[in-house]
Symmetry: C2
Subunit: 106 residues, 2 copies
């Protein structure tokens, strides 16, 4: 994944409230109303946070009578997971080579 796309996803998660919302949505869908109370925010604030998450592709919305429940898009999270694991692997490979080098020397 390119740096820009990834940064956009990270930007959406660069806020404690949104991180908490994502954690909440992992346990089940929720409406704006349902998120308003626990997070002590106005309905508008929650609505905006969900919009940011939706624009980053971390969340999808659907219509259900007057309500518009939000669903977590786990695919997006997995993309981050994949990227991080790739970096971790590069890092680990480098450190393995270093250890091997030191082993040969000693």
């Amino acid at each position: 994944m390119e740096a820009e796309t990834l940064a956009r996803t990270f930007t959406a998660l660069a806020d404690p409230t949104r991180v908490a919302i994502v954690a909440r949505l992992a346990t089940g869908d929720a409406t704006v109303k349902e998120l308003t109370e626990p997070f002590e925010l106005t309905q508008q604030a929650v609505s905006r946070h969900l919009k940011v998450l939706a624009e980053a592709g971390l969340v999808t919305r659907r219509q259900e009578a007057q309500a518009r429940p939000a669903s977590l898009e786990v695919e997006r999270l997995v993309e981050i997971l994949t990227w991080i694991d790739a970096r971790r692997a590069e890092w680990a490979a480098r450190h393995d080579r270093l250890a091997e080098h030191l082993r040969r020397l000693g």
Copy 2:
């Protein structure tokens, strides 16, 4: 991990340049000078990005003559990885239950 700590880490990665710097550091340590050219930034800009990454614990600096090379702190990345995987697991468990439910019905 709490939402706030995690958001701080995500904030550091909420910029394409810093994501690219992290990717670069995964392949080996680098000085400010070495990062300036490929990213077409001033020395000061790179220095600031590294400071943000360091404050988030994603990078450490060390002194080496006049230079101050930056090292990736893979531990921090692993913390993100762990958190995301936990959310993914919750989400998956929920969807398994739903599938089971539908299977029983059908």
